[in-house]
């Protein structure tokens, strides 16, 4: 091979390898921040304590309230996005004429392109007051409206990815099913959805991971109060909100308080990393099945 070819290839290789450095960087930063933290606070306490007040005089370092807040908003978001998104995916695939599908898909995808501060703003100023008009006990900051709005935001993730998964099921299966006299509904739920199940599961996992990591909506609309509750009507705090909150306060470098955000960050990272790997793994298996 010519020398110039070799050089170019090496440069490109370098660019690709930088992505590994980024991952290494993330892990290193999170570990470097949280290892000193865990030298002061035991992991057991971190994982089992029921209170999170690291900034106060009486410090408690239980991550559970933040995890609960994250879980709560994510669960609400998925409860909104999964049924709606999956229905849309099936509808677009089996029912909608091609022209409708071509126009609806990008329209819905707009939902995913809107910056999340905008959703936060909308949740706080429109959705919460709207919900308060028939849920009297609803606090101004709450998990419910943040979760709902987040759910709407991730609808296109589920609907588009699931739709892709369903439409990548070989057309011949659909024809086989129709050829046996199935209705579209039967074809959809007995043949297409099961055959596309791994792709659909991948889309849902990615949506969950997205919801877990979402920041601005919850920071603006869900409150900043860590509490171990599954009540969607009161202010809560998610892991991401906590990081934002501390960053806004600009806690000085090197303090224990500063390190809490890395400890919280590593929990967040572990969650999303696990989910992403799971989805990647499922996707790989699924591709093998069809090729």
């Amino acid at each position: 091979m010519k020398l110039s070819e070799k050089i170019i290839e090496s440069l490109l290789w370098l660019a690709a390898v930088i992505t590994i450095l980024i991952t290494a960087g993330i892990i290193w930063v999170l570990l470097a921040g949280s290892i000193p933290f865990f030298q002061e606070v035991s992991v057991i306490e971190f994982l089992t304590e029921k209170e999170w007040t690291p900034l106060f005089a009486q410090k408690h370092f239980g991550i559970l309230p933040l995890v609960a807040g994250t879980f709560l908003t994510t669960a609400i978001a998925i409860a909104v996005a999964l049924p709606i998104g999956l229905t849309i995916a099936v509808y677009l695939n089996e029912y909608a004429p091609g022209s409708l599908k071509r126009s609806i898909k990008p329209l819905l995808e707009i939902l995913a392109t809107i910056p999340t501060v905008v959703y936060g703003f909308f949740a706080l100023t429109v959705v919460t007051p709207f919900l308060q008009s028939f849920i009297p006990g609803l606090a101004g900051f709450n998990a419910l409206s943040a979760g709902i709005v987040m759910g709407i935001m991730i609808i296109p993730m589920i609907s588009s990815l699931s739709e892709d998964a369903i439409s990548s099921v070989p057309k011949s299966l659909r024809e086989a099913s129709y050829g046996m006299g199935s209705t579209r509904l039967q074809t959809a739920f007995r043949v297409m959805v099961p055959a596309a199940s791994s792709g659909i599961i991948v889309s849902v996992i990615l949506a969950i991971s997205r919801a877990v990591g979402e920041t601005m909506i919850v920071a603006i609309a869900a409150g900043q109060q860590p509490r171990l509750t599954l009540n969607p009507l009161v202010p809560i705090e998610t892991i991401t909100t906590y990081i934002v909150q501390v960053s806004l306060g600009d806690v000085p470098h090197g303090s224990l308080e500063y390190r809490t955000i890395f400890a919280a960050g590593i929990v967040l990272f572990v969650f999303t990393f696990g989910l992403n790997n799971l989805s990647f793994w499922i996707k790989k298996k699924y591709q093998e099945k069809y090729d």
Binding site: S4, A15, I20, P115, V117, G213, T215
Partner: protein, 285 residues
């Protein structure tokens, strides 16, 4: 009722439900846009676009915010695109199925799923602290570059994949080397697709607030940045700032700024969609 007509009925019912679900999404979108436009549209005028921030909502403008956003877009493009496209080309055109390549692939899929706020922590520690860049434009742009790098890589690969193998083979068969083939055939043929991906990545960067908050970009910055070392603010952060102010007039400002932000986002996305369609029309393999 016969079995068949029951099935037909279920079929129809689901069809109705499907339309309903789509409407939920679309109505929400419409409500959001209408709400924001009706709140903020009247606030948008020349003064609003050219004024510095102020404690009085009616005098406050978004000059620093959109100037910061433009800076960030520019710097992020310069940093992320060459890197991302190169990595994409390497992964798609050069790697064989080795351990390294599948590791890289998993790794990139993972990076794409890392929450943006984690990138904020990375930027805070590496760029702001270790490299001593402070809460500067450069630190912000580097952080966002890392954030969108996976998107650029993945879309570059998609675009390269869309170039049929037959084009590469045609080129090889005429005695072209690998890089000649990539540079003269594959990249030009996938240019539209790469550009599309790159613009989509930018539109993601435009809307990000969380990682920038973490690197410390939330402050009263009443001047237009003039170099990458300056402190800055961007539209999403200005919006965040205004929404958290209690005075109602600031909410109007926030809505107006949101209109501008959506305008930029939709513009970028629109360009991307346009390019994608044109590409699909122009080249039918």
């Amino acid at each position: 009722m016969t079995r068949s007509s029951i099935n037909q009925l279920k079929d129809k019912a689901f069809q109705f439900f499907g339309v309903l679900c789509m409407l939920i999404g679309l109505v929400f979108l419409a409500a959001l846009l209408i709400d924001i436009i009706s709140r903020g549209m009247s606030r948008i005028d020349w003064d609003f676009l050219t004024s510095l921030p102020s404690r009085r909502a009616s005098r406050s403008g978004i000059l620093t915010a959109w100037a910061g956003t433009l800076w960030i877009l520019l710097l992020t493009s310069i940093i992320a695109f060459p890197l991302g496209i190169s990595a994409g080309v390497y992964l798609e055109e050069y790697t064989r199925k080795t351990k390294l390549s599948s590791f890289l692939e998993i790794n990139i899929a993972n990076l794409a799923g890392v929450p943006s706020i984690i990138y904020g922590l990375l930027g805070l520690e590496i760029f702001v602290r270790q490299m001593g860049l402070g809460s500067s434009l450069l630190a912000g742009a580097l952080t966002l570059s890392l954030l969108i790098l996976p998107i650029v890589i993945v879309t570059t690969r998609e675009a390269l994949k869309a170039v049929p193998q037959s084009v590469r083979q045609g080129s090889y068969a005429l005695g072209a080397t690998k890089w000649q083939t990539i540079w003269r055939q594959v990249l030009p043929a996938s240019f539209g697709g790469i550009l599309t991906g790159v613009i989509l990545a930018l539109s993601r960067a435009v809307g990000e607030a969380a990682p920038l908050i973490v690197v410390g970009a939330l402050a009263y910055v009443p001047f237009v940045p003039s170099s990458p070392n300056d402190e800055f603010t961007v539209l999403p952060i200005q919006i965040f700032n205004w929404t958290s102010r209690p005075q109602a007039e600031f909410l109007v400002n926030a809505a107006a700024a949101i209109i501008m932000l959506l305008f930029i986002t939709f513009l970028l996305n629109g360009i991307a969609v346009y390019l994608r369609n044109r590409q699909q029309k122009k080249i039918k393999w």
